[in-house]
Symmetry: C2
Subunit: 180 residues, 2 copies
């Protein structure tokens, strides 16, 4: 039942957006009662942070492939796959926008999702420093923005078409930036 | 009156989001009647695209400073200033999220805002190619994502704190990426 509720939650969230999401609609779509939801989660905020972070943190985000180039390409591939998934492509921008209006949602998602993912991406950079592939003083803060920002911009904001070798080319350009 | 309506529109849009924006509330906040709005715009969509694109396209986006480094730093400064403006910081992510649910809004904003801004940023790159500062085959598509994406990610998505020399460092890293 928890899985059916989770699936219904993501479908409703993608269709309605967080602001208009109703737990009644989630329960109805899952073929469950509202009590089944309130046994597991105390509120819409609690349910959202719990289910979203379970998916976002499950994504490994930083496989160790043995080289910086391999790690960056794997990281970008995972981000692109996530943003090309139709439900995620609606849910992620919606939660980001809603976070601007609902500070308690933003803070809960920062703690549960952002900080975990950033710490994994930092490990990717630290491994490259340890291998001698990046200078010890590489700007980790900007490197994290470069790993996520350009793909997010393309796939979730401007929606411009993407060439087949896009991730390869982006990887090469990011490696040059990290080493600047 | 048009200016008062525009100011009221942006305040309402920032507070309520596009989905819940009501033209009655805009009229009330502007001290105008609904007729004053419908004389100028045919719908909420029409009003949004017209007023948002007037602001977004007014921003020059691509000053010619004489060097690629100067042009990139000026571009990034303008993006950062826009995203640090409290109303814009709420409105831009909201419109991006709403575009995922309302294709006619996305299409109108792509045509009125995205395509104009992309064409100006492309001119920044073409000037650098003409000056011999970038190779003729620089990947313009990825360079455009690099100009906007990392700053958008930091200032509008993850909201991590920014060092005083952030734009300078980002500029140096982007120049290395463009030349890769």
């Amino acid at each position: 039942m928890t899985e059916a509720i989770a699936a219904a939650f993501f479908e409703e969230l993608a269709a309605a957006g967080y602001a208009r999401l109703s737990l009644e609609a989630v329960a109805k779509r899952a073929g469950a009662g509202k009590a089944a939801i309130y046994r597991r989660w105390t509120s819409k905020l609690d349910m959202t942070v719990d289910l979203v972070s379970a998916v976002a943190v499950n994504a490994s985000g930083a496989a160790d492939t043995g080289t910086l180039r391999g790690d960056v390409l794997a990281f970008l591939t995972e981000v692109a796959d996530a943003l090309n998934e139709p439900l995620a492509a609606r849910i992620i921008p919606d939660l980001i926008a809603e976070g601007g209006r609902t500070p308690e949602l933003a803070e809960a998602l920062f703690a549960a999702v952002r900080d975990t993912r950033r710490s994994r991406a930092t490990q990717l950079l630290e491994r490259a420093v340890a291998r001698g592939e990046l200078p010890a003083d590489v700007d980790r803060e900007i490197a994290l923005d470069l790993l996520a920002g350009p793909l997010y911009w393309r796939l979730a904001v401007v929606h411009t078409p993407t060439a087949p070798d896009h991730l390869d080319r982006l990887t090469d350009m990011l490696l040059a930036a990290f080493r600047a």
